[in-house]
Symmetry: C2
Protein backbone atom coordinates (compact mmCIF):
# COMPACT_ATOMS: atom_id res chain seq x y z
CA UNK A 1 0.00 0.00 0.00
CA UNK A 2 3.00 2.32 0.25
CA UNK A 3 4.52 4.14 3.20
CA UNK A 4 3.93 7.88 3.10
CA UNK A 5 6.75 8.60 5.55
CA UNK A 6 9.25 6.75 3.33
CA UNK A 7 7.62 8.52 0.38
CA UNK A 8 8.60 11.89 1.80
CA UNK A 9 12.23 11.00 0.97
CA UNK A 10 11.29 10.03 -2.59
CA UNK A 11 9.30 13.25 -3.00
CA UNK A 12 12.50 15.30 -3.18
CA UNK A 13 12.83 13.99 -6.76
CA UNK A 14 9.35 15.30 -7.61
CA UNK A 15 9.07 18.55 -5.74
CA UNK A 16 10.80 20.89 -8.17
CA UNK A 17 7.85 20.40 -10.55
CA UNK A 18 5.01 19.06 -8.37
CA UNK A 19 5.81 20.79 -5.09
CA UNK A 20 6.15 19.42 -1.60
CA UNK A 21 2.43 20.12 -1.19
CA UNK A 22 1.55 18.51 -4.54
CA UNK A 23 0.64 21.75 -6.29
CA UNK A 24 2.11 21.83 -9.79
CA UNK A 25 4.52 24.61 -10.65
CA UNK A 26 5.32 26.51 -13.84
CA UNK A 27 7.75 24.56 -16.00
CA UNK A 28 10.82 26.07 -17.63
CA UNK A 29 9.64 24.85 -21.05
CA UNK A 30 6.19 26.39 -20.60
CA UNK A 31 3.02 25.04 -19.07
CA UNK A 32 2.57 23.75 -15.57
CA UNK A 33 3.07 20.38 -13.92
CA UNK A 34 -0.18 18.78 -12.78
CA UNK A 35 -1.26 18.82 -9.15
CA UNK A 36 -0.77 15.59 -7.24
CA UNK A 37 -2.10 16.67 -3.84
CA UNK A 38 -4.68 14.25 -2.52
CA UNK A 39 -4.76 12.30 -5.77
CA UNK A 40 -5.94 8.68 -5.52
CA UNK A 41 -3.16 6.30 -4.53
CA UNK A 42 -3.99 3.68 -7.17
CA UNK A 43 -4.13 6.30 -9.91
CA UNK A 44 -0.72 7.70 -8.96
CA UNK A 45 0.85 4.23 -8.96
CA UNK A 46 -0.82 3.38 -12.28
CA UNK A 47 0.40 6.63 -13.85
CA UNK A 48 3.99 6.20 -12.68
CA UNK A 49 4.06 2.58 -13.86
CA UNK A 50 2.66 3.69 -17.23
CA UNK A 51 5.49 6.21 -17.59
CA UNK A 52 7.98 3.52 -16.57
CA UNK A 53 6.58 1.16 -19.22
CA UNK A 54 6.57 3.92 -21.85
CA UNK A 55 2.79 3.70 -22.23
CA UNK A 56 2.46 7.30 -21.15
CA UNK A 57 4.85 9.69 -22.83
CA UNK A 58 6.63 12.54 -21.12
CA UNK A 59 10.29 13.28 -21.53
CA UNK A 60 10.68 14.59 -17.99
CA UNK A 61 8.69 11.79 -16.40
CA UNK A 62 10.54 9.13 -18.38
CA UNK A 63 13.80 10.41 -16.87
CA UNK A 64 12.48 10.61 -13.32
CA UNK A 65 10.85 7.18 -13.20
CA UNK A 66 14.09 5.50 -14.28
CA UNK A 67 15.42 6.34 -10.83
CA UNK A 68 12.38 4.99 -8.98
CA UNK A 69 11.91 1.40 -7.85
CA UNK A 70 8.41 -0.06 -7.55
CA UNK A 71 8.71 0.44 -3.80
CA UNK A 72 9.68 4.10 -4.32
CA UNK A 73 6.63 4.50 -6.57
CA UNK A 74 4.30 3.00 -3.97
CA UNK A 75 5.80 5.17 -1.24
CA UNK A 76 5.73 8.47 -3.10
CA UNK A 77 2.19 7.75 -4.28
CA UNK A 78 1.24 7.22 -0.62
CA UNK A 79 2.90 10.54 0.29
CA UNK A 80 0.97 12.60 -2.26
CA UNK A 81 -2.28 10.69 -1.72
CA UNK A 82 -2.09 11.44 2.03
CA UNK A 83 -2.25 15.21 1.47
CA UNK A 84 -5.73 16.35 2.44
CA UNK A 85 -7.60 18.51 -0.04
CA UNK A 86 -10.73 20.57 0.37
CA UNK A 87 -12.58 21.90 -2.64
CA UNK A 88 -14.83 24.85 -3.35
CA UNK A 89 -16.88 24.98 -6.54
CA UNK A 90 -17.36 28.58 -7.75
CA UNK A 91 -20.98 29.77 -7.88
CA UNK A 92 -22.26 30.68 -11.35
CA UNK B 1 -9.16 29.16 -23.00
CA UNK B 2 -12.47 27.44 -22.29
CA UNK B 3 -15.66 28.70 -20.67
CA UNK B 4 -16.26 27.18 -17.25
CA UNK B 5 -19.96 28.08 -17.30
CA UNK B 6 -20.44 26.22 -20.59
CA UNK B 7 -18.29 23.47 -19.12
CA UNK B 8 -20.80 22.93 -16.33
CA UNK B 9 -23.18 21.49 -18.96
CA UNK B 10 -20.46 19.16 -20.29
CA UNK B 11 -19.58 18.06 -16.75
CA UNK B 12 -22.81 16.04 -16.52
CA UNK B 13 -21.05 13.46 -18.72
CA UNK B 14 -18.15 13.25 -16.25
CA UNK B 15 -19.78 13.54 -12.86
CA UNK B 16 -20.83 9.95 -12.30
CA UNK B 17 -17.14 9.04 -11.98
CA UNK B 18 -15.35 12.35 -11.25
CA UNK B 19 -18.07 14.13 -9.27
CA UNK B 20 -19.55 17.58 -9.70
CA UNK B 21 -16.83 18.77 -7.30
CA UNK B 22 -14.06 16.89 -9.13
CA UNK B 23 -13.50 14.31 -6.42
CA UNK B 24 -13.15 10.84 -7.95
CA UNK B 25 -15.63 8.18 -6.91
CA UNK B 26 -15.42 4.43 -6.49
CA UNK B 27 -15.85 2.66 -9.84
CA UNK B 28 -18.13 -0.33 -10.37
CA UNK B 29 -15.21 -2.34 -11.74
CA UNK B 30 -13.02 -1.56 -8.73
CA UNK B 31 -10.65 1.30 -8.05
CA UNK B 32 -11.48 4.96 -8.03
CA UNK B 33 -11.60 7.65 -10.68
CA UNK B 34 -8.93 10.32 -10.25
CA UNK B 35 -9.70 13.72 -8.77
CA UNK B 36 -9.99 16.57 -11.26
CA UNK B 37 -10.77 19.41 -8.82
CA UNK B 38 -8.48 22.37 -9.36
CA UNK B 39 -6.31 20.46 -11.83
CA UNK B 40 -4.33 22.57 -14.31
CA UNK B 41 -6.37 23.58 -17.36
CA UNK B 42 -3.66 22.71 -19.89
CA UNK B 43 -3.09 19.31 -18.31
CA UNK B 44 -6.80 18.46 -18.43
CA UNK B 45 -7.04 19.47 -22.10
CA UNK B 46 -3.87 17.52 -22.93
CA UNK B 47 -5.17 14.42 -21.13
CA UNK B 48 -8.56 14.49 -22.83
CA UNK B 49 -6.97 15.00 -26.26
CA UNK B 50 -4.59 12.11 -25.55
CA UNK B 51 -7.56 9.84 -24.79
CA UNK B 52 -9.29 11.09 -27.96
CA UNK B 53 -6.16 10.28 -30.02
CA UNK B 54 -5.81 6.86 -28.35
CA UNK B 55 -2.42 7.82 -26.89
CA UNK B 56 -3.75 7.28 -23.40
CA UNK B 57 -5.73 4.10 -22.92
CA UNK B 58 -8.87 3.80 -20.86
CA UNK B 59 -11.98 2.01 -22.03
CA UNK B 60 -14.31 4.33 -20.15
CA UNK B 61 -12.50 7.50 -21.20
CA UNK B 62 -12.32 6.38 -24.85
CA UNK B 63 -16.12 6.10 -24.85
CA UNK B 64 -16.73 9.44 -23.14
CA UNK B 65 -14.35 11.52 -25.27
CA UNK B 66 -16.04 10.32 -28.47
CA UNK B 67 -18.99 12.49 -27.47
CA UNK B 68 -16.88 15.57 -26.73
CA UNK B 69 -15.90 18.21 -29.28
CA UNK B 70 -12.66 20.16 -28.84
CA UNK B 71 -14.79 23.04 -27.57
CA UNK B 72 -16.49 20.73 -25.04
CA UNK B 73 -13.04 19.59 -23.89
CA UNK B 74 -11.82 23.16 -23.42
CA UNK B 75 -14.99 24.09 -21.55
CA UNK B 76 -15.10 21.11 -19.20
CA UNK B 77 -11.38 21.51 -18.49
CA UNK B 78 -12.11 25.15 -17.55
CA UNK B 79 -14.93 23.98 -15.27
CA UNK B 80 -12.78 21.53 -13.29
CA UNK B 81 -9.74 23.83 -13.28
CA UNK B 82 -11.85 26.62 -11.75
CA UNK B 83 -12.62 24.60 -8.62
CA UNK B 84 -10.53 26.00 -5.80
CA UNK B 85 -8.50 23.56 -3.75
CA UNK B 86 -6.70 23.98 -0.48
CA UNK B 87 -4.19 21.43 0.73
CA UNK B 88 -2.92 20.26 4.08
CA UNK B 89 0.23 18.12 4.30
CA UNK B 90 0.06 15.72 7.28
CA UNK B 91 2.75 16.23 9.90
CA UNK B 92 5.13 13.30 10.33
Amino acid sequence: AGDSTAGRKVMVKCQSCHGKEGLGRALAGGGEAPNLAGQKYDYLVHSLMAYKAGERKSYMMSLVVKGLSEEDIANVAAYYAAIKITVEVPQE
